[in-house]
Each structure stands twice: as C-alpha cells, then as structure tokens.
C-alpha cells in the first residue's frame, strides 16, 4: 500500500461536512441502525467499504510486508529518523516484549546482522527498483 497524501499542507481544512471521500467510512460504517430496519444493497456498500478499509491480517499482507522488509535498503539506518519519537520504541512494547537491558544487547548484535543482510540486499536491489520510488506515487 502506497497511499501517500497529496496535500502538502499540514492540515487539511475541510469545508463543513468534508468531502464525501473523507467521511465515507462514517456514513457507511457508523450511524444509527435499528434491527427492525432492512439494510438494502449490501453488496454495493460492502464493495465500497472494503475499498477504503485496510485488510488488517491476511497472508497477502504478510507477504507484502516481508517483501518490503527484504527489499529495504538499510543504509538509511544512518539517516535521521523521520517519525516522531513516540512512534518508536517498538522493541520495548511491540512484537517482542523483553527487558530493556536485554534489548540493548540485542540491538547491538543485530547491527552486525543488518550489515550482513545488507550485503545480501545489495545483490537483490540491482534487480529491483528502489522501493522509495514506488511510494512517491500513491494509489490513485
């Protein structure tokens, strides 16, 4: 998924009610529904809803992520972080829950692993275009 925001402004100030696309998820997914009522044309609604929704967990997603990680050019490690600090510290609360002490050691040892991985990557990358180019375009 390479949905990159097109606006350059930091805030999109939508007009009252916003554009339809901006509130589609709320109109189709929120709002009052009462059991006695009949919801019609579910098919059309589902298609629209799926279109804007994230497929959270699927083999396709996992494979895509794996591919993305394998493709990563880790030379960017030396570049400054681009995401705010609070997003980080994944190693402390994310996929692996370990103590901080253990982590520091792990973080150092993986630096070597990364270097090895990078050598492997360099060969692959000569065959595939840099991933950054893909992300510039966006989906639509």
């Amino acid at each position: 998924m390479t949905m990159v925001p097109r606006q350059t402004s930091t805030v999109s100030r939508s007009q009252r009610g916003g554009t339809l696309y901006d509130v589609l998820d709320l109109i189709l997914d929120k709002g009052l529904v009462i059991d006695a009522y009949i919801r019609v044309s579910l098919v059309g609604i589902e298609i629209l809803t799926i279109d804007i929704r994230v497929v959270v967990a699927s083999v396709d997603t996992y494979l895509r992520f794996a591919e993305a990680v394998n493709r990563l050019d880790l030379s960017s490690r030396s570049q400054p972080r681009t995401l705010p600090e609070f997003v980080g510290d994944l190693e402390e609360s994310g996929a692996s829950r370990k103590t901080k002490g253990a982590l520091s050691g792990a973080a150092e040892s993986v630096t070597g692993a990364f270097r090895r991985g990078r050598e492997r990557l360099t060969e692959r990358e000569s065959r595939s275009p840099p991933e950054s180019r893909r992300s510039e375009k966006g989906d639509d």
């Binding site: 805030v11 929704r53 993986v110």
Partner: protein, 251 residues
C-alpha cells in the same frame, strides 16, 4: 417489501424541538426523492421513498450526507447509516414510537454536540522501515534468510504486528492530546493509509477551539504524520447502539 418502490428510506431522527425545514433539499435516487417528516409521537424521522435500486454510489451517498448535513444546521439529529430502509412507513412509525424514549435520551445527550473526525496518515513504508530497523524479532527473522513461504509469512506477521503497534501509538498519542477538549472519543473503522481514525464529540461552543487544538497537534506531528480534520459532522460515531463486538477491541 415485495414492491421495492414502497420502501421507505430513513435519513435521521429528530426531536420535538427540531424545525425540520426540508425545503431546497432532496434525497437519494434518480430523480432525487422528495423528503418528508414522519411524526412518531414525540420524535420524528426524516424519510423519503427508497429508490428501487439503492447502491452505495457516489450520488446517493452524497445525497444521504447532504440531507443529514442540512438537518444538523437546524438542530440535533440522530444520523442513520447509509442504506437504512424500512419495509413500510407504518411499521417504521410503530418502531419509532416504541423506541422513542431511547431516541429522546440519545437526542438529549447529543444536544448541541457535533462530531469532528480526525484521521492521521503515515507513509506505511516508513513504518515498515522503522519496524525493520528497531524490532529484534524482525531482524532475526530477516537474517535467517527465510526461504520458505512459511518463513516469509512469519516475517510478514512480525512486521504487521510492529506496524500495528506503531499505528496504535499514533492513535493513542492523538487521543491523549485531544480527548481533553472533547466530550467523548470513538475509534473509526481502519482506513487505508491511515494510522488513526478517530472521532470526537465536541460541544458546539467548543468547536473552534477544538479545531485550533487539532491544528496545533497537526503542526506538531507534521510532516511525517499528516493530520486531517473533518467536521463538524452529525454524530455518526456516537449514535450506535453498541454491540459486544464493538465494545471489545479485537485482540
């Protein structure tokens, strides 16, 4: 419901104090349907004939939203989800009368309050890169030069988990920064490209200060995280009769 033309499309529910001025506004369908007020005891529904073929097309979804937007300018509205159609007007009226107390309580609770939706967009590639750089599990899996598809799936799962945590962090951070200025907070459905989809119920009087606060937060998080604010809207996210599955976040 054998005759599709007799179905009644429901836009929203209003209380006794709502002027319900329906001039210059039409509903779903082509040609656009005429709107009418269906009185049901102390409350009323704004309804129209349902088109024979109702699809979630841009035109009809826009018409639905336009009607509700028109109504919230006049007073408090319980907005229906797109596509709510009653079999016939009389059974709808009975249903409304039966549930009038519940709807009135909801209308009272939401009086003078509107929804502001805040979405935060982050480049997913950046989250993946971050995960790969910082998560030892991912690094180990990656370094094992995974050959089989099962290995790749395991690696992808670890990345997905880490990306999910990062998104959750962003959402929690934004809630921390904004919840104090709102009456209530609700999480929206996950949206492609969005790390957070949050709705805030805000008092009318606080709408401009809330908007300013969102813009401050947006400026703090830019440019890596792009914050989009939409509203004020009818309180779509605050009218749902919560079900167990909605109350319990999936683990």
């Amino acid at each position: 419901m054998t005759d599709a033309n007799k179905l009644t499309y429901v836009y929203g529910i209003v209380g006794p104090g709502h002027p319900c001025d329906l001039t210059d506004i039409t509903g779903v369908g082509d040609p656009p349907s005429v709107l009418r007020r269906l009185d049901a005891g102390t409350i009323a529904a704004v309804v129209g004939d349902a088109p024979a073929e109702l699809r979630a097309k841009r035109r009809d979804v826009h018409a639905h939203q336009a009607v509700i937007d028109h109504l919230i300018k006049q007073g408090t509205v319980l907005p229906m989800r797109f596509g709510v159609v009653a079999g016939d007007e009389e059974s709808l009226r009975q249903e409304l009368v039966e549930d009038a107390d519940m709807h009135l309580a909801m209308l009272e609770d939401l009086q003078g309050r509107l929804e502001v939706n805040v979405k935060a967009f982050v480049d997913e590639d950046e989250l993946v890169r971050r995960a790969a750089l910082e998560d030892p599990t991912i690094q180990q899996l990656r370094d094992q030069s995974a050959e089989t598809i099962e290995d790749q799936i395991r690696l992808g799962e670890a990345v997905a988990a880490a990306v999910d945590v990062a998104r959750q962090r962003i959402a929690e951070h934004i809630v921390d920064l904004l919840a104090g200025n709102a009456v209530r907070t609700a999480e929206g459905p996950p949206i492609k490209g969005a790390a957070a989809n949050l709705s805030f119920l805000v008092d009318r009087d606080d709408l401009s200060s809330f908007a300013e606060r969102v813009d401050e937060v947006a400026a703090e998080l830019a440019p890596e995280i792009r914050v989009q604010r939409v509203g004020p809207l009818a309180p779509y996210s605050f009218v749902a009769v919560a079900t167990d599955s909605e109350l319990q976040p999936e683990e």
